[in-house]
Structure formats: C-alpha cells, structure tokens
Amino acid sequence: MPITYTSGEQIEVYRFSIPVTVGVPLLALFLQAFLPRRLPFFSIFDLPLLVTIFFAMARRNPISGLFTGAAIGLVQDMLGPYPIGIYGIAKTVVGYGASSLGAKLDVENVGARFLVTTGFYLVHAAVYFTVARGMVNLKLDWSWTRGILAGLANGLLGVALYFVLDKFKQRT
C-alpha cells in the first residue's frame, strides 16, 4: 500500500456539482439514520464521516474540508439526543485534517484510502469522546476493541464507497 509524497504539480483537485455536494451528504445522513434499524450491524459504520473524508480528500482544500465536516457533523448532531456540536467539532477536525493530508499525499490508491479512513475514524472518535466527556460531561465508555474494529470496518467500506463516489468527480 504505497503512500507517496506528491509535489504540488502532481496533485489533482476535483470539484463536484451542487446536487452531488448537497445530495450525497444528505443521503449519507439519511441512510445512517434509517439502515441501522433494518440492518443492526450497520450501526458500526459512520457514513457521514466517510463522505466528509471523501470530499475533503478530493477537494484538497482545508477550508472547504472543514466547512463540509462542520455542516455534516452539525446535522448529525441534530438527529441525536446530545447537545449540538459534538459531531460538528469532531468532523470539522477530520475534514480539515483529511483535506490537508490530501493536499500532500497521494490518497488515490486503495491502500492509502484504507489507512487514511481507518486513521481518521480513530481521530474522529478521540475528538468526539474528548468533547463529550470533557465538556458535555457525558458518561460514555470507550471500548478499544470495538473502536479498532469499527475503524477497520469503516476503512473497508470507505474504499468501496470512494470507488463509487469517484464517478461524480469533475476535474477543475
């Protein structure tokens, strides 16, 4: 799984049509809310996070990445029972990180995507738990086993999902 350092000239920046920019995150949020009731195992996945990472890495623009992450995270917060902003903060960090990484590394190949997604899942979980426990005082327990398994599962799903979403990329 090669992760190659690329020069600025090698980096390709993509953009997306407005329907894709709006529709894909909304679809991800909808599926995340709907599917776990029908397919219980699906709750281990975090589709909104995968979409955040994908858009951030494809656009390679930190500002765009962090706003995408913030928007998706805040909507996800609205559907949950906890104060609004916990997912927002976590996904803002991930969006910024993924786009910054995308600007410097070649994250187009399968291995790199898997590692980046798994890593950012753990970063996301770490930020979420830090904010939830440290600031909102939620009594959430962290399970390393479940966290790592979920990270790997999201990495695998991410690779497949990015392959589909690649079809919507438009070269700038």
Partner: protein
C-alpha cells in the same frame, strides 16, 4: 498581524469554526436544558428526514405484506394446526395463572397495596435511528399530535424498550435502555434484589448496584421495579446472561434485553398509567373448593325441570347436587353470597329470592366477591341437608340469571367448569 493571519489563514479559520462550535456547546451545557433551546433546529432536521423514512417504511411494509399475505402462504395449514394446539395449552395455563392472579390480588388488597396498571397504549412504527453508534435512539412515527409526551415508557410485547426523550409534531425520539445515558430501575425476579439497568458503550445492558456477596444465577429474569417512575413495575427487562465480579463491592451483571432492541419495528407507548388498589376476588377459590366438595358429596337424583331452571346462569354445581339450598348453588356464580344469605335468613323461598337478587343488582364487584367468600363456607355447612330445598330455590332463582353476567369475568371462568361438569350428573 495581518501577515500572520494570512500565512496561517486555514488554521485561523479552523480555530474560529471550532471556537464557535465550542461556544455553542458551552451555552447548551450551561443551560443544561439544551433540548429546549435547540428544539427548533432539531425539529427542522427531524421533520426533514422523517417523511423519507416514513415513506420507505411504508413501502417496505407494503411489499412485505404483499409477499407474506399473498405469495408466501405455504405451510399455513400446518402452522394453523400447531397454533391451535398451542392455544389449547395456553388456555390451560391461563386457568392456572388466573387463579394465581386472583389469589395475589386478594393478598395485595389485604395489604392495601397499590398497583400500577397500563391503562392506555399507542402503537407506533419505528422509522429510524439517531444515525450514530454512540447513542442508541430510535424515531417513531407518533408525535405530539398523537398525544406523545417526554418520559413516556416505550415497550413491546417482549419487554421494555426505552422512554420518549423528545417529541416533535409527527414523530418522537426514543432513548433506548441500552444507551449509555439511560437507566432503568430494575429487580431480579426470584431474589427481588434491586438495581439499575444501564447501557454500555457496546450497546449491552448491565445491572448495576448489586452487592458482590449476593448469589445471582445466569438465566434469572430481570423486571422493572417501578422505582424510576417511568416504567410500571413488573415489565420484563431481560435475563441475566453473565455474572462476574465488578468494580468495588458490586457485581458486574450482564443482562440480555427481553425485547430485541436491534430489530424493533413496532412498539407500544404507554400513554396512561393508573394506580389503583387491586380488587380482591376472594370468593373464587373458596367457591371453587365448595363446588369441588359438592361434586364429591353424594348426589340426589336429577330433577330435569328444576335443573334447567336453576342453571341458566351456568352455575349450578350445588343446584343439581346434594346441595339443596343450593340456592346458593344455583347462584353460584354470585354463588356464595347467595349461599350465605340462605343460611342467615333461614331459607324460605321468598326470602331467598329477595335477598339473592339484592347482590345481583348491586353486585358490582366487591360485595359479591366478599360475600362469596363467606358464602362458600355456608354452602359447605349447608350441603348435607338441603336436598328438600333444592327445587324451590332453584325455581326462585330463575330470575337470577340476570345476575350472573354481572359477575366479574375472571371468577366466572373459574366457577364455570364445575357447573358444566355438574350437568351430566
């Protein structure tokens, strides 16, 4: 300064966005009732997404119904036969349980216990979840317009599911019992030990606050204790799946939920609970004993006409039996009250008729029931003589049938069997 901001523009914006969100969080946390202050935003989000979920659920149910009701009927006959057998077995079990329940109610009324009953429920369809693995919530398709309120208990036939957390116009958010922030007052069925059932990060249930010196076996049922003021007492929460030493002096008890929380489709929301003292139905067991005894005593030859007249209420064990004064017998369903009256009044037909009708009219429960208790003993003592009184009494009691239906249902069922068994005599 400007050059610094320009140089670190991305980082500055990141910090700014994070700061704003942290500020928003801080405001919500400080107000603590964040739910109210962010209510409008949540309503927008939920109302935007639930119509799609509702539509998908509707379509899914429609196609599922089409398949199951029209195309997938293979094996229905066999299943029907099997279910009928099951019903027969359950009827037998029901008779036994109703006797136990009657006895329990009688004992509870003696202790002036108050019970909580589920008075009204609303069926709801699960249409979605919270979209996060870290919070265990579901959305149901009933909201404020359907009478939903926060903190209502949500259950299934299997057991408890959770409580209503937030209510929107056409949907509600339900916090499931396996969420980390939820807690249910619970007790173990056999040992009656009380604790709190909580969710874990993995979505499992654990029973907290049980001291480590207690002996608890896997497989024991866990019921709601009613202590949380949300779930009525006695609803199934789950069964103990594993017991191990926990932190400090407490046991770590894993509980397998009674309701299948991962595959919820329909749930019941308890919209109304009633607290009332159980009504003693004390007469039944005694009345039943009297019936049984009456059956075992030597019987007199049947007088078909009389029996026919006396039995319309379906009572009559004693009527057709030796229990002549069975006036009482005739009235057996209101049974024993009548028998008691007979012994007290001295049993003339006229008096009997009058007095027996009295409970009939006002026989709404307690009087009849308590009367039956004493009546049964009267019936027992009277049994030996009474043969001569049988016919008059039964004749007099013909109007009685009207009283029979007024009897409570459960007692009825228990007193009926002897009556039907008597007819053959």
């Amino acid at each position: 300064m400007e050059s610094v901001l320009g140089r670190y523009r991305n980082l500055t914006i990141l910090v700014g966005v994070l700061f704003l969100q942290l500020l928003g969080l801080a405001v919500q946390v400080k107000r603590s009732a964040d739910v109210e202050h962010t209510r409008l935003i949540r309503i927008w989000a939920v109302e935007a997404i639930t119509p799609f979920e509702r539509g998908l659920v509707w379509a899914q149910n429609g196609s599922s119904n089409l398949w199951h009701n029209y195309f997938f009927l293979r094996g229905v006959r066999a299943e029907n036969r099997q279910l009928k057998e099951q019903i027969e077995q359950m009827r037998l079990e029901q008779v036994r349980l109703s006797e136990d329940a009657t006895q329990a109610h009688r004992l509870q009324s003696l202790l002036i216990f108050k019970e909580q009953f589920i008075a009204k429920t609303v069926a709801a369809q699960v249409i979605g979840s919270g979209g996060s693995d870290l919070s265990r919530i579901i959305y149901i398709d009933k909201g404020k317009n359907d009478g939903m309120k926060p903190d209502l208990a949500v259950i299934t036939a299997g057991g408890i599911v959770g409580k209503v957390l937030q209510v929107f116009p056409t949907s509600s958010q339900v916090l499931m019992i396996n969420d980390q922030s939820s807690g249910v007052g619970a007790m173990l069925e056999k040992s009656r030990l009380q604790g709190v059932v909580r969710g874990t990060a993995n979505g499992e249930l654990v029973l907290d606050r049980v001291m480590s010196d207690e002996h608890i076996a896997a497989g024991e049922s866990v019921l709601s204790s009613g202590g949380d003021q949300i779930f009525p007492k006695g609803l199934p929460v789950g069964t103990v799946s594993k017991v191990s030493a926990g932190r400090e002096m407490f046991l770590s008890i894993k509980v397998k939920p009674a309701a299948d929380l991962s595959r919820l489709e329909e749930v019941l929301v308890v919209t109304e609970k009633q607290e009332r003292e159980p009504v003693a139905e004390s007469g039944d067991s005694r009345g039943r004993a009297a019936d049984i005894l009456a059956q075992r005593l030597p019987s007199v030859p049947e007088k078909p006409a009389t029996v026919a007249g006396a039995n319309p209420a379906g009572t009559g064990a004693a009527a057709s039996d030796a229990t002549g004064q069975d006036a009482g017998a005739g009235e057996k369903p209101q049974p024993n009250g009548a028998a008691k009256i007979v012994t007290e009044t001295g049993t003339t037909g006229g008096v009997l008729k009058k007095v027996v009708q009295k409970p009939a009219a006002g026989d709404s429960g307690k009087n009849g029931r308590s009367g039956s208790g004493t009546g049964s003993s009267a019936a027992l003592s009277a049994t030996p003589n009474a043969t001569s009184n049988a016919s008059p009494k039964s004749a007099n009691s013909t109007p009685k049938p009207a009283t029979a239906p007024s009897k409570p249902s459960s007692p009825q069922s228990s007193s009926q069997p002897p009556a039907t068994e008597d007819n053959p005599h």
